[in-house]
């Protein structure tokens, strides 16, 4: 049959196409050197934000990659991106089935799935980034929740904003109010600003609707930011994934000043580098790498692992392009506050549960 | 087979559907490659591998289904393919229009170059097709069934155009299956049957009956033999009927008409005078604005089409492909299209395919439908046989009233004869027939009474001796 011959030709073309490209394959290079007696396999499952989200998944994955690069840890890492939240259990199971030693899951949305998997697979270690709500007391011993004191970097960012604002009006555009981390950032930001500048006015809004666009509605973020600029704000803090990124973009377009969140957005979101004064960071990479190190070095801690100023788990990012626009005096003041937070001699005034 | 065409002549290619006329012309136009044989133009052997080759040789073709782009203007359609000559980025509409205007005045083909094709009547669209071919430099023009879609008046116009073309020395090949037309327009007639040339004649040397015999391969009755009607009680009455067309204009304007059992009432009229709307209103496909439809002394005006059909009204719609059959379904399903759900063809909601097939086999035989079997797709049948499927379906449900709209349009001579005989024999068995036809000959040969429709009204109902071609023609034109 002529038709089948033609299919064969197509198939042959396919093989040729594949063969030509055979040499291109390159996955993230393995860190396991010859000195390793055992290679630890670590898998990471993203939430629906993807590895390229310039924020959460990206930074957590950097932590895993840093562990892989550290030859003393003998880690080999892989990631699976989740397309829908229905895939979470399945993607975790993929790593378990492949006999991975540890699974890192990113974001509170994977919480239920991770806890269930930890209970079902006691020999595998699980780390949840930014989530530690355990319904079981005590939680499974193979499970750790990595959480952050977001009020501290928020406080630092707010302190800086309070010193830098010319209109005495600053603003924030935040994700869902039902997510405690978001609220802590915002409250820290507000308190920090009020401390350095008692006359400051803080405008802000949380994303109201709960739906598929949680943390992923940059258009809305941009719109809200523009509203605040119209009300006189000259600095905006974007707190909430892509929604917050929308606010940053608005600042860039209107030549205002912006403050990023979670990671150093100068690196992760270079589009807004020109307006970015700093970012209120949680060092997800440090936390993730720490939890992997605990697993490899047999110093595993289960339960909740809190990262704060003391263990360098949070902070604010470098000023980058704003270095010249922030006076030495202001820098010193902010640095002083950071040191006091680290020592514990200064509190943010935000109650932490 | 052999065929030769001379410059300055109209050469008619006559044959039934499927006799091979169109295939032959597709070979000449480069759409189909011949298995053997050769084509010569002006004595030189030519290779025609594609329509482009044909156009270069001066061969133009007007297809049965027009190849025009409706939203474009006449001029745009005509210069399509050569629009570069009028364009430097933008098309120079003025210059293109002028070129088209000159061409149309040269040949007496009046068209407005700026009119959009979608707004033109079928006859004018055909002129655009002819102009398109002439514009591309056609010296040999092939017209494939050019009258199939035209009204009698438009046919007249077409014949005049064909004449003026041949006066210019061009050759025209006129493909048709209509006998009267070839006698009227052709210089020579080549009759084809089953892919072979039967004979080539001049009109003066041939009679209608002889041509028909050559086409069909056996003697054909050109006039239907029928006994005088013995009408009974009125089975179908329409009273004071007012119906709108699709544009919500009044199309049927207060029509009263009665059809009695055992008679054929013909509705004559130029197409577009409300006949379609009248028929659709009777079978329940179009809303009544006023008046009522009475079947067997019962008012059925508010009944659905299904209820009317099941009560005993049969309907042969004018547009076979659009309304009469479902091309993608087999012959058997088409034969039960309007009573598929009744016993024995269905039990509860389950179709009884065996019963359908048996029934279909019976009808295929009784109505001489040339199909491979009941399971063959109806799209694979010739036009005549498709129409026989419709006629067989509508006449086999023991109807009491038959609404037959253009029952033989686009049907070959052999099938026309058969369909006419069927209608007449059912009339003799007591069927009330309302026949709507734009072919005056059909009305004249079948109808016991003739109602002439003009601008939505029945202007006259003629009986017996009153039924004359001249008189009806004048009434149709709104003169009398």
């Amino acid at each position: 049959m002529k038709a089948f011959r033609q299919v064969a030709v197509l198939a042959a073309a396919a093989v040729i196409a594949l063969a030509c490209g055979g040499s291109g394959g390159g996955t993230s290079g393995g860190g396991s050197s010859s000195s390793c007696s055992k290679t630890y396999k670590v898998g990471l499952v993203t939430d629906v934000g993807k590895l390229s989200d310039k924020s959460f998944n990206y930074d957590s994955w950097q932590g895993v990659l840093n562990a892989q690069k550290d030859s003393s840890l003998c880690v080999q890492a892989r990631a699976i991106e989740s397309s829908t939240q229905e895939d979470y259990p399945k993607n975790i199971a993929q790593f378990v089935d492949q006999k991975y030693d540890m699974v890192v899951t990113v974001g509170f949305k994977l919480g239920d799935a991770t806890i269930a998997a930890a209970k079902a697979n006691p020999t595998v270690k699980f780390a949840m980034v930014d989530y530690a709500d355990f319904t079981d007391k005590p939680p499974p011993t193979n499970l750790v929740g990595l959480v952050f004191q977001e009020d501290q970097p928020g406080f630092l960012a707010g302190a800086l904003a309070g010193l830098q604002t010319k209109s005495n009006t600053i603003a924030y555009v935040a994700g869902l109010e039902s997510v405690p981390a978001v609220v802590k950032y915002v409250k820290g930001y507000t308190n920090g600003a009020k401390m350095t500048n008692p006359n400051v006015k803080v405008l802000g809004i949380y994303q109201p609707e709960s739906g598929p666009k949680d943390f992923n509605d940059p258009d809305w973020g941009l719109q809200q930011a523009n509203t605040f600029f119209g009300q006189g704000a000259d600095i905006i803090f974007g707190v909430g994934g892509n929604t917050g990124n929308g606010a940053l973009l608005a600042a860039k377009q209107k030549s205002k000043t912006c403050i990023g969140v979670d990671v150093d957005q100068f690196v992760s979101y270079p589009d807004v580098a020109s307006c970015l004064m700093t970012s209120a960071e949680k060092h997800l990479d440090i936390a993730v790498k720490q939890s992997i190190t605990n697993m490899v070095k047999k110093s595993w801690q289960s339960g909740t692992l809190t990262f704060d100023a003391k263990n360098n788990g949070v902070g604010i990012a470098p000023y980058h392009d704003y270095d010249s626009k922030v006076s030495t005096d202001v820098k010193a003041k902010v640095s002083d506050i950071a040191t006091k937070l680290k020592e514990g001699s200064l509190a943010t005034g935000v109650s932490t549960p | 087979m052999d065929l030769d065409v001379s410059w300055g002549e109209v050469h008619a290619l006559l044959g039934e559907n499927g006799a091979g006329k169109s295939t032959l012309m597709n070979v000449v136009y480069g759409l189909v490659r011949p298995d053997s044989g050769e084509i010569m133009v002006d004595g030189n052997r030519v290779e025609i591998g594609s329509p482009l080759d044909a156009i270069r040789l001066g061969i133009g073709m007007v297809h049965q289904h027009f190849m025009l782009i409706p939203p474009l203007t006449v001029a745009e359609n005509i210069i399509l393919g050569q629009e570069g000559e009028f364009a430097r980025g933008l098309i120079d509409v003025e210059r293109a229009g002028a070129a088209v205007r000159k061409l149309s005045s040269d040949y007496g083909l009046a068209v407005d170059p700026r009119a959009k094709v979608e707004g033109l009547s079928v006859g004018v669209q055909q002129r655009v097709e002819i102009l398109k071919a002439l514009y591309k430099g056609a010296r040999i023009l092939i017209l494939d069934e050019p009258t199939a879609v035209l009204t009698p008046q438009e046919v007249e116009g077409l014949f005049r155009i064909v004449r003026s073309l041949t006066d210019e020395g061009k050759a025209v090949i006129f493909i048709t299956h209509k006998l009267a037309e070839v006698m009227a327009v052709a210089d020579r007639i080549t009759v084809m049957r089953q892919g072979k040339v039967v004979d080539t004649r001049k009109p003066a040397e041939a009679s209608l009956a002889e041509l028909a015999r050559m086409m069909v391969g056996r003697p054909v009755l050109l006039r239907v033999e029928r006994k005088p009607a013995r009408p009974g009680a009125a089975l179908l009455r329409v009273e004071g009927l007012v119906v709108h067309d699709d544009r919500r204009q009044v199309a049927v304007d207060g029509v009263d008409l009665a059809v009695r059992a055992g008679e054929i009432v013909g509705v004559a009229g130029v197409e577009g005078n409300g006949q379609d709307e009248l028929v659709e209103a009777i079978v329940g496909l179009r809303r009544l604005q006023a008046g009522r439809v009475v079947f067997d002394d019962r008012d059925v005006s508010r009944k659905s089409t299904r209820e009317r059909l099941h009560a005993g009204i049969s309907y042969i719609p004018a547009d076979r492909h659009r309304l009469g059959i479902v091309l993608e379904l087999p012959v058997s399903d088409n034969l039960v299209l309007d009573h598929y759900g009744q016993p024995p063809f269905a039990r509860w909601v389950v179709r009884q395919l065996k019963a359908v097939r048996t029934y279909a086999q019976r009808l295929i035989k009784a109505f001489d439908i040339r199909a491979a079997g009941p399971d063959q797709l109806v799209s694979a049948l010739s036009g005549g046989n498709q129409q026989k499927v419709v006629v067989a379906r509508e006449l086999s449900t023991k109807p009491r009233v038959l609404i037959a709209a253009q029952p033989t349009r686009g049907v070959d001579v052999g099938s026309i004869e058969f369909i006419h005989q069927q209608i007449v024999s059912q009339r003799d068995a007591g069927l009330a027939v309302l026949l709507v036809s734009s072919e005056l000959d059909e009305v004249l040969s079948l109808a016991d009474r003739v109602a002439v429709m003009y601008r939505g009204r029945i202007v006259s109902v003629l009986e017996g001796e009153q039924i004359e071609r001249e008189r009806i023609g004048l009434l149709m034109a709104g003169v009398a």
Binding site: A3, Q6, G21, G24, S83, N91, G111, D112 | S301, L337
Partner: protein, 366 residues
């Protein structure tokens, strides 16, 4: 081989198969561009879909909703209706069914399961029926109305599932409904896997839908309307009623997919439970050429792609988004048989083309 069978073979088997091959080729190009090895990626995809531990069972789990949804969309196609709203009907079916399934208690499974399934189907029937009624009465195109109804159902599901006092279960990190009654859960077919009895329902649904289309008077009306709406009306078929019923049945199958997914896999409902299945199903139905039997292999293919994607990413770090590229290309080739025929040098005209046209529906006097 007779001409007709050859034609059938080409249109029903060769062209879809070639479209799939071509889709994978386009996918391979995309993998190459991103600097990975297509052979490795596709091997991992295959392993993740079939040969890994539980992979075959998981592929079947992913295929089950595709079967119901594909059948539903295909049914619509047969009447010339383009039901884009399967995703939304999935939600409404799941919502209606899950409400029954977590509200009932202490009834035997033989009662609870069919009850939940029926209510789920009714939900889908009702939701799609709205689009059907709108089309039949006002001529509003079903593509537009079903898209709009999708949004309403997404937000409705989100609202009900996220709101305390409505369907939100207490103390959960991801908003979801309470678990369904244990007796309402579809039994697991292979212990240790998630493969549930929905597979059997899907396998039964195929011949039932085939029978409905090919052997019943309803199916005959659906096909007649789909092939030639004017001829159908002329033959006395009520086009309006057929449109409403077809849309309803199409939606009922989508709703069934939803409640089966809830009772079989999740045991509760989230506001993302449809997970794009309903949109993919349009592709499944196209690939199946609207033939119920064709839905089975098409659903299996899409289930395998969906299920194998994560292992492919694990093994080769090729993004699971690649699957969307493959799916989309397959559909481009299926929807454009001309391209495939040209690639294969097949001259014959397509046997079946999908018509999406706005038709005027004026019916009899009322």
């Amino acid at each position: 081989m007779s001409r007709r069978w050859r034609q059938l073979l080409i249109s029903a088997v060769v062209v879809p198969l070639a479209s799939v091959v071509a889709g994978f080729l386009v996918g391979a190009l995309a993998i190459l561009v991103t600097g990975s090895d297509p052979i490795q990626a596709y091997s991992a995809l295959f392993a993740g879909a079939f040969t890994n531990h539980n992979a075959a069972a998981e592929t079947l789990v992913s295929s089950i909703p595709y079967v119901f949804l594909g059948l539903g969309v295909a049914l619509g196609f047969r009447a010339g209706l383009f039901n884009i709203g399967a995703e939304g009907q999935f939600y409404v079916g799941a919502l209606a069914g899950v409400f029954v399934a977590f509200s009932v208690h202490r009834l035997p499974g033989i009662v609870e399961v069919p009850l939940a399934l029926l209510v789920g189907m009714a939900g889908g029937f009702f939701w799609a029926g709205i689009a059907g009624v709108l089309k039949a009465t006002t001529g509003a195109h079903e593509v537009i109305t079903t898209i709009m109804l999708n949004y309403i159902s997404f937000l409705l599901a989100s609202f009900l599932v996220n709101t305390k006092g409505l369907l939100l279960a207490p103390n959960v990190s991801t908003p979801r409904t309470p678990d369904v009654d244990p007796a309402a859960v579809l039994v697991t077919l292979i212990p240790g896997s998630r493969l549930h009895a929905g597979l059997l329902l899907a396998l039964i649904a195929v011949p039932i839908v085939w029978f409905l289309i090919e052997r019943t008077t309803i199916g005959f009306r659906i096909r007649a309307v789909g092939f030639n709406i004017d001829a159908a009306r002329t033959a006395g078929i009520s086009v309006r009623r057929t449109i409403v019923i077809t849309m309803g049945l199409s939606g009922a199958l989508a709703g069934l997919a939803g409640i089966v997914q809830v009772l079989g896999v999740n045991k509760h409902m989230t506001d993302t439970v449809a997970a794009g299945y309903g949109f993919d199903a349009i592709a499944v139905a196209l690939l199946a050429r609207s033939n119920p039997w064709g839905v089975l292999p098409a659903a299996l293919l899409f289930g395998a792609l969906r299920n194998g994607a994560s292992f492919m990413q694990l093994e080769t770090q090729v993004s699971s988004d690649l699957i969307s590229i493959i799916q989309a290309s397959v559909i481009v080739f299926v929807a454009a048989p001309v391209i495939v025929r040209w690639l294969l040098r097949l001259r014959e005209a397509p046997v079946q083309t999908l018509q999406i046209t706005q038709r005027e529906e004026v019916e009899t006097t009322s």
